[in-house]
Amino acid sequence: MSPAAAAATAARATTTTAAETHGFLSPTGVEIAFLLVGLVTFGAAVVTVTTKQLVHAALWLVVALGGLAVEYLLLTAEFIAWVQVLIYVGSVVVLLLFGLMLTRAPIGRSPDADSGNRWVALAVAVAAAAALVWVVVDAFRTTWIDLDGAAAGSTAVTGASLFQSWVLPFEALSVLLLAALVGAIVLSRRTKAKATATPSPPGPPRPPGPRSDVPRSDKEGAR
């Protein structure tokens, strides 16, 4: 059984499969809201990749990620929604903005914002989206969430399924993240060692320190 099919069977335990009672022609309020928020999210995402203003792209990304969080909420996955806001809006976008501000963040348009790879990127994005949509549609074809019953995505339910059914993928992901963490530390340490190993210009010996490659005059000017 494929993971998607397994997920679908797991989901069927908590949701109704009676597709006959749900028509596409008489949508409920929640379904309409879901569609509208989805459109907003999609629009923000398109603006994110097409705008020529770098920081505006990051801010539109906030709208797209926030819209996604609202979609999770509408699907009753409250825990995932808040974690989405916490991690993506609160940390990833802040990191992104930090990087932009540290390197370059001109106000107004950046004429060189477009990469030569953009058609390849578009092809990869469309392929990935098609694969994901196909998997999700195939797995949850006629599954409807019962909004009147117990929440299917509350913290308790998510925690139980994560640590009972999906413990192994969870642990594998943890190891992957740990490897990425160690790798990042190794990479940053190596570049630093190289920087200090380069011959320094003649002058009085400087005390070793984290910023010993900065000329002394610069240091004093900065204070």
Partner: protein
């Protein structure tokens, strides 16, 4: 119909709290600072004890011209104060002040995650302000804000996770319900780390590098005048209210107290939060500002290990008593 009325009433109460409590903290800051540092300025307006100083400040802010610099990114510049302020309004909705459903704006299932997530959003306001001002000092302030948030978000989350482990729930009323008096010594390290990290996230002294007025002229807010600047100040005071309330609820037992828990529990919550808000102001007038590298060092080499140790301690005790 009754439900709609109930929701409207709750929203109204939360809104009133949001409008008044930060002003109370602002007034307290004026007075406490004036007494602790012998400042005479805030003691004149209105006669007795300078009670009208805050009103005078408000009138002054409202009269000032709202200037947007010519080189600024107009829309982002104007939107930034709202992004900084509104998340705190949403957070206040989820903080319980008494037992039962009647004393909280809205019971959120994953309360801790909700509160910390939304608080993190308000920092985006400072970043937007710092970038959109087209001012080098503002950009520096924005950079420092981002670096500070990234450093202090982690210990805050870890210590909150420690309390959630202890209580076995992530809902804020649930955590206070599960509170016992001996949690206080058990979670004391976590409480201190959470409070310090929260101060840093609010950019309150001694962690006010991003706004350091004597170095980078108020950082991200350099170009702001009038009401928009006042909104940023209000966001800071609302942040103090939220941080004090959250620390009370997570670590100090909320409405639990030696007596009077049943009817007057909310008094305990407010009292504890008020004491914490006083401590926030006290720290401002007591300690000098940390340097940027000291600030990062404090977070990564002291607070993060301490919060990890707290989580380990929580886990061990939890297993032993289970």
């Amino acid at each position: 119909m009754n439900d709609a009325l109930d929701v409207a009433l709750r929203l109204l109460v939360v809104f009133v709290v949001f409008l008044t409590f930060p002003l109370l903290v602002g007034q307290a800051e004026h007075k406490v600072m004036a007494h602790m540092q012998g400042r005479l300025g805030p003691m004149y307006a209105g006669g007795f004890h300078g009670w009208a100083q805050l009103v005078a400040d408000g009138v002054k802010f409202a009269q000032k011209e709202d200037v947007v610099p010519a080189g600024a990114d107009r829309r982002v510049f104007q939107l930034a104060p709202a992004v900084a302020l509104l998340p705190y309004l949403v957070v206040i909705l989820a903080i319980p002040i008494g037992p039962g459903e009647g004393a909280v704006g809205e019971v959120v299932d994953a309360g801790i995650f909700f509160v910390l997530a939304v608080m993190g959003v308000s920092v985006l306001g400072s970043l937007m302000a710092g970038w959109a001002s087209a001012n080098k000092f503002s950009l520096l302030g924005g950079l420092r804000t981002a670096a500070q948030l990234l450093a202090y978000e982690l210990p805050m989350l870890l210590t909150a996770a420690s309390v959630a482990m202890a209580a076995g729930t992530v809902s804020l009323p649930g955590i206070v319900d599960a509170f016992e008096w001996w949690w206080l010594p058990w979670q004391i390290i976590g409480a201190i780390v959470f409070f310090v990290a929260g101060l840093a996230e609010l950019q309150r002294p001694p962690f006010d590098m991003p706004v350091a007025d004597s170095e980078i002229i108020f950082g991200a807010y350099t170009e702001y005048t009038g009401l928009r600047f006042a909104l940023f100040l209000l966001a800071e005071y609302a942040g103090i209210v939220v941080l004090s309330g959250l620390t009370t609820v997570l670590f100090l037992g909320g409405w639990h107290g030696p007596w009077g828990e049943d009817g007057l529990g909310w008094v305990w919550t407010l009292l504890k939060a008020a004491v914490l808000a006083f401590v926030v102001i006290w720290l401002r007038v007591t300690y000098p500002r940390l340097r940027e590298d000291q600030l990062q060092k404090l977070a990564w080499t002291l607070l993060v290990p301490l919060s990890l140790a707290q989580i380990a301690l929580t886990g061990i005790v939890k297993v032993v008593i289970a």
